[in-house]
C-alpha cells in the first residue's frame, strides 16, 4: 500500500511537473512572440508552434487567449519584482537601514538596468503595457498592477520624507507619476530604437535628476549633482566601474 501511495504521489507530481513545464514553455514562446508581433499579432497556434507542441495546447492549458496573456503579464511582473528585490538585497542586507531616497534610486536604476538587456518576458511586458493605452483595453490585470506600482512608489517617497532623505515639499503622488512615467517612457524609447543613445549616460543622468529633484538641499548648496552625499552604490556603478 505504501508503495502504491508513493507511486501515485510520484505520478501526480510528475503530472504536475509536466503540466508546469508545458505551461512555462508556452509562456516562454508567448513572450517571444508578443515581444515581436504584439498581443493581437500573436496567434495561439503560433505559440504552440514556437513552443514545439501542438496547436491546441495553449487553449488546453489556459482556456483562452486572454487568460494566457494575463498569466504572462503576471509572470513577467513577478519576475521584475523579484529582480528588483534581489538588487535591493544585494545592495543592503537589511532593507530597514536603507533610506527612502535610496530605495527610489535603486528602483529606478534596477528598472533601467533590466531594460538595457531585457529578457523576452520584459520586452513582452512593455508591449502589453502599450496595448493598455486604448480606453477599452483587453489585457487584464495590467492596469491594476500599474496602479500598485504607482502607489508603492508614492509610499516609498512618503517614507523617504519621514526619514528626511526626501524633501518635504515634494508631493509623493505627483513625483511617483513622474518617476514611473519616465521609467516606462525611457524603456519604450529604448526598445523601439527611436532614441539611439548611450544607455550608460541615460542611467547616470537619471540618477542625477532623481537626486536634484528629491534630495534635500544641504545648507545653501544644491542637491545631488555636485555632492551626492553618502549613497549606496548604484547598480550601474559596478558596470561603470
Amino acid at each position: 500500500m505504501t508503495g502504491v501511495t508513493v507511486s501515485a504521489e510520484r505520478a501526480r507530481r510528475t503530472q504536475a511537473e509536466r503540466r508546469s513545464r508545458s505551461e512555462e514553455a508556452l509562456l516562454d514562446a508567448a513572450a517571444e512572440l508578443i515581444a515581436e508581433r504584439g498581443v493581437e499579432g500573436t496567434s495561439l497556434a503560433s505559440i504552440g508552434g514556437r513552443a514545439g507542441v501542438s496547436r491546441g495546447l495553449p487553449t488546453h492549458h489556459f482556456g483562452s487567449k486572454d487568460t494566457l496573456v494575463a498569466r504572462l503579464a503576471q509572470r513577467a511582473q513577478e519576475g521584475i519584482a523579484a529582480a528588483m528585490v534581489a538588487n535591493l538585497e544585494k545592495q543592503a542586507r537589511k532593507l530597514d537601514e536603507v533610506s527612502g531616497l535610496e530605495v527610489v534610486h535603486l528602483t529606478v536604476d534596477s528598472y533601467l538596468e533590466i531594460f538595457e538587456h531585457p529578457t523576452p518576458d520584459e520586452r513582452a511586458l512593455l508591449v502589453m503595457w502599450g496595448s493598455t493605452f486604448p480606453s477599452r483595453s483587453s489585457v487584464e490585470g495590467m492596469v491594476e498592477a500599474e496602479r500598485r506600482s504607482y502607489e508603492g512608489l508614492a509610499e516609498v517617497i512618503a517614507s523617504g520624507q519621514r526619514d528626511r532623505s526626501i524633501r518635504s515639499d515634494v508631493e509623493p503622488a505627483a513625483a511617483a507619476v513622474l518617476l514611473l512615467g519616465m521609467i516606462r517612457g525611457i524603456a519604450a524609447l529604448i526598445l523601439t530604437d527611436s532614441a539611439v543613445t548611450d544607455m550608460r549616460s541615460v542611467r547616470r543622468t537619471c540618477d542625477e535628476w532623481v537626486t536634484s529633484a528629491l534630495a534635500p538641499l544641504p545648507d545653501g548648496g544644491r542637491g545631488g549633482v555636485g555632492a551626492p552625499a553618502r549613497r549606496l552604490r548604484s547598480v550601474s556603478d559596478g558596470a561603470a566601474g
Copy 2:
C-alpha cells in the same frame, strides 16, 4: 464659356470637397475608435460605420488600413506640432528672444496641457505609439516621427547650452531621452488611469524638475524651485490662476 468654366470649377471643387470632407470624417471616426479600442481592435468597417458612410469607403479612399492609420498619425502629429507652435507664439512674439530652457519648459508644459484634455486625435496618437512597441510594428511613420521629436529636443537643449540658459554639464542626448520618455510615459499613465492623480500638481512638479535638472546654479543657490529666475509664464499658470 463663363458658364462652362464656372460649372466645371464648381463641379471640381465640389467633388474635391466631397472627397476631402469624407476623408476628414473617416479620420475623425478612426481617431475615436482607435482611442477606444486600439489599432488592431478597430476594423475598417467600424470606421465607415461611425463616419456614417459605407463599409467600403475607408479602403476606397486610403487603399489600405495601414495607409489610413499612417495618415491619422500624421494628422495628429501635425496637430500637436501646430498647437505647440501656437503656444510658443502666444508666450513670446519673437521666438528669438526665448531661451533654450524656456523652450524646453514650454514644450513640456504644452504637451502636458494637451494631454490633460486630449482630442481624439491626441488620444489615438498615444495609442498608436503604444502599438509600436512590438519589434515588428505596423504603424508606419511613427518611429521616424518619434526620432525627429527626440532629435529636435536634443537640439533645443544644446541651443540652451549655447545661450547659457542650460547647464553645460548636461548631455543633450541623454536629457532628451529622459524628457521625451517622461512626457510620453506621463501621458500614458494619465490616459490609462486618469482618476488617479491631480494633473495640476503633476504639471507643477514637472516644471520644477526641469528647472532643477537643467537650470544653471545661480551663485550658491539652487536651481529653479526657490528662485525660478526670470521665466516666461507657464502655460499652466493661466489655468492655475
Copy 3:
C-alpha cells in the same frame, strides 16, 4: 440653317468619332490586360487606367463588363476572319478557282501564321476561348462563334469533296473537329510556352498531315507527302524561302 445643319452634323460626327476612338482605346487596353491576366483577373478600373482614361469610362461606354468582353471577342474574331480572307485573296484572286483542299490548307496555315506573332486581340481571343471551358461560361458569343467556325470548316471540306480535291471517305464533321481542335490546341500550346519548339517545322508538319489525311490517293501512291500535287503556295512558303 444649312450652316447649322452642317455644324450639327460635324459635331455629331466628331462626337461619334470621339466615342469610337475611346471605345477602340478601351478595347485595346482590355485585350492587353486579358491576354496578361485573364478575363476575371482584369478589372474595369485597370482597363480604364491602361487606356489612359478614367476608371468609370469602361462602364460608361459598354454598360457592363460582360458587354465589353463580348465586344472584344467580336472584334478579335472579325479581325482574324479579315486576316484570313486577306490571306486567301492574296493567294488566289478568284476564290472560285481555289479547291476545297486548298482552302483548308490556307485556313490552317493562316491561323498558325497568326499565332506565330499574335496581336493582343488574338492572344486575348485565345484566353477567352479558354475561359469558355467551364460548363457555365460567361463569355457571350464565343460558343456560337466557335460553332460557326466548325460548321464553316465542315462545309469547306464538303465542298472539297464535291470538287474532288478531298477524298470522299472523309467525314466532314469529324474532320472539322480534328482540324479546329488541332488549330486551337497548337495555338494554346505555343502561347503557354509549354512546347518550346520550332514553329516553322510545326507549320510544315501540319501542312503534310492535312494533305495525308484529306488528299485523294493518286493511283497507288500516297497522299501528300511525297508528291503534293499542284498546290497554291502556302503562306509559310514565303517565310520559309
Copy 4:
C-alpha cells in the same frame, strides 16, 4: 501497453482517416464546381458547402486556394495517367512488345475515350488548362505537367522511329505538338459543345490520321486507312462492337 498502443493507433488512424476523407471530399467538390464555373468562379466557401462541411475547412486543409487547385490538378493528372497505363496494360501485357506507333495510337485513343465520358476531375483538368492561357496564370504545376506530357509524347515518337513503326522523316517534336494540341483541342471542343458531333466517328478519324501521318508506307500502298497493317485493337473497337 497493448491496449494503449492499439488505442493510440486507432486514434491516429481515425484522425488521419478523417483528414484524408475530408480532403478527398473537398477535392471532389472542387472538381465539380471548377468544371461548372471555372477556377475563378469557384469560391472556397462554395467548395466547403458542396462538400457538406464548413466554409473554413478548405483553407484549413490546403492553406490557400492556389494550393487546393494545384492539388486537384495533380490528382486529376495522376488519375488520367493511371487510366492510360491501365488501358495500355489491358491491351498488351508486356509493354516491351508494343511498338511506338501503337503506344501513340493507344495514348490518343485513351485520351479521347476519357473525354467521351469524363469524370469531374477530368472536366476540371481541362478547365484548369484553359485558365493557364493568360500569360500570368495562377494554376501552379499545370505548365510543367503540360511540358512533361509533350516531352513524353515526343520520346514515344522517337522510340517508334527506332523500332521502325514510325516513319523516319517525322520530326518528333513537331509531331508531339500536333498530337497533343489536337487531343487537347478536341477535348475542349467536345466539352464546350458536346452535342455537335458524333464522338465515335471523331475517334475513328483520329485513328486514321495518326496512321496516315506517322505509319511507314508499305510498298507502294498507302499508310493506315486501307490496310492498317497489324495493330492492336483500339480501345474504342470494343465499344464500337
